[in-house]
Amino acid sequence: MKRLSFSIALPACAILLASCEAGLRSAPPVTTAFVRAAARETANARTLEEGRKVFVNRCISCHALPAIGRYDSKRIPGIVNWMSHRAHLTRDQKDALVEYLLTVRSQPR
C-alpha cells in the first residue's frame, strides 16, 4: 500500500513541479532583478506585481498565456489595448500590464 501511494504521489509531485515551472516561464515573478530590468523608469515593483496579477488572472479567461518573447515590443501596448475591453481592465490595470509585459519582453531569453 505504501509503495502504491508512493508511486502515485511521486508522478503527481513531478507534474506539479513541472507545471509550476511552466507557469513561472510564461509569467515570471517580480524579483529585484526583474524590477531593475524594467522597461521604463516609471515602473516599480508594485506596478509590475499588479501587471503580473492582471496577466495571470484576467488573460487566462480567454486564452493560454502567450510567449511574450515572440512579440515585437512596439505591438504590445496595441494588443493589450485591443483586449482590455474584453477583460474589463481599468486604465491603471492596462498600464501595469503593458509595463509588466514590456519588462518580460526585455528579459534575456
Binding site: S19, C62, A64
Partner: protein
C-alpha cells in the same frame, strides 16, 4: 440521475411532475426576454467556458455582467428507448470582486417525452443562485482552487450543490476537476430526500485562440434517502469550444459507459454566450 452540473434532474415519480402549457410559461419567457434585452444594452463581455459539465476555477472580473444559455438534450435510456428530454438554463452572471462571482439561473425548464418522463410536455424545474469564490490561480500557483455553492428552488423542491473546483493550466492544455456533493429535497413537505456524489474531469487543448478541443468525464453515485449508495454511473465524451470576438459556444457529447437503466445513453450539452 444524469450529470447534474448545470442540468436538471428527473422527478422520482414522473406523474408528480408539474407540467404546463406554453400559455403558462409565457410570462417567464417574457421576463427572460426583457432581461436579455437589458443585458444586451450593457457593455459586457461573456467569459468563455472550455467545458459544459466541468466548471473552471477562474471567476468573472468585477463589474462584468454576462449571459449564458445552456441546452442539454438527453435521449434513450436502456429502460426507456422512447425517452427524450431537452433542458434549458438561462444564466445571468456577475463579477463581484476579483475572486468572487454570483450568478442567477432565471428559469430552468425542459421539454420531455417517453415512458419514464411521464406526460409529454414542458416542465419548470425552478430557479437557482450560484456563488463561486476563487482561492488560488491555476497558472501562478501549484494548483488553482475554487469553491462553488448553488441553491435551487422549485415546485415542492429544494436542492443544494457544493463543489470543490480544481484546475491546472499547462500552457495550452487545461485540466479541470470538480468534486460535487448534492442534497435534494422533494415532495409536498419536502420529505423525500436524496444525495449524490459526483466527480467530473475535463481536458481542453487550445489549438488556436478561437478553437479548443477536449474531453469530459463524469462519474456519479446516488444515495437515495441518504442511505446505501447506488451503483456508480459513468459518462464520457468529446468537447469542442469555439470563440470569436463577441460570442462563444461550447459543445460536449456524452455517452453512458455504464448500463444504468434510468440514465440516458447519450446527451449533448451546448452553452453559448454573447458579448455586447
Amino acid at each position: 440521475m444524469p450529470p447534474s452540473s448545470g442540468g436538471s434532474k428527473p422527478f422520482p415519480n414522473p406523474r408528480e411532475r408539474p407540467s404546463f402549457s406554453m400559455r403558462s410559461i409565457a410570462p417567464i419567457l417574457s421576463l427572460v426576454l426583457v432581461i436579455v434585452v437589458i443585458v444586451m444594452a450593457a457593455p459586457a463581455f461573456a467569459g468563455s467556458r472550455r467545458f459544459t459539465y466541468v466548471y473552471e476555477v477562474t471567476t468573472s472580473p468585477p463589474g462584468d455582467v454576462e449571459i449564458e444559455n445552456s441546452i442539454t438534450w438527453k435521449t434513450r435510456k436502456p429502460d426507456d428507448r422512447g425517452f427524450d428530454q431537452v433542458d434549458f438554463r438561462h444564466e445571468l452572471e456577475f463579477g463581484i470582486t476579483e475572486k468572487f462571482q454570483a450568478a442567477v439561473y432565471l428559469a430552468d425548464w425542459n421539454y420531455h417525452r417517453g415512458m419514464s418522463a411521464g406526460e409529454r410536455g414542458f416542465s419548470l424545474t425552478g430557479s437557482a443562485l450560484e456563488l463561486i469564490y476563487n482561492l488560488t490561480n491555476p497558472v501562478a500557483d501549484p494548483i488553482g482552487l475554487a469553491v462553488y455553492q448553488e441553491f435551487q428552488g422549485g415546485y415542492h423542491r429544494f436542492e443544494s450543490e457544493s463543489k470543490l473546483l480544481a484546475q491546472k493550466n499547462f500552457g495550452r492544455l487545461v485540466v479541470a476537476y470538480n468534486a460535487t456533493l448534492e442534497a435534494e429535497w422533494e415532495g409536498d413537505g419536502l420529505e423525500e430526500r436524496q444525495g449524490e456524489f459526483q466527480e467530473s474531469l475535463g481536458l481542453s487543448f487550445e489549438v488556436n485562440p478561437h478553437l479548443l478541443f477536449g474531453a469530459e468525464f463524469v462519474h456519479e453515485i446516488a444515495f437515495p434517502d441518504w442511505s446505501a449508495a447506488e451503483s456508480g454511473k459513468f459518462f464520457a465524451g468529446p468537447n469542442v469550444s469555439f470563440r470569436r470576438r463577441n460570442y462563444w459556444a461550447t459543445v460536449t457529447a456524452l455517452a453512458q459507459v455504464t448500463r444504468a437503466g434510468d440514465e440516458p445513453d447519450f446527451q449533448i450539452r451546448t452553452i453559448f454566450g454573447f458579448s455586447f
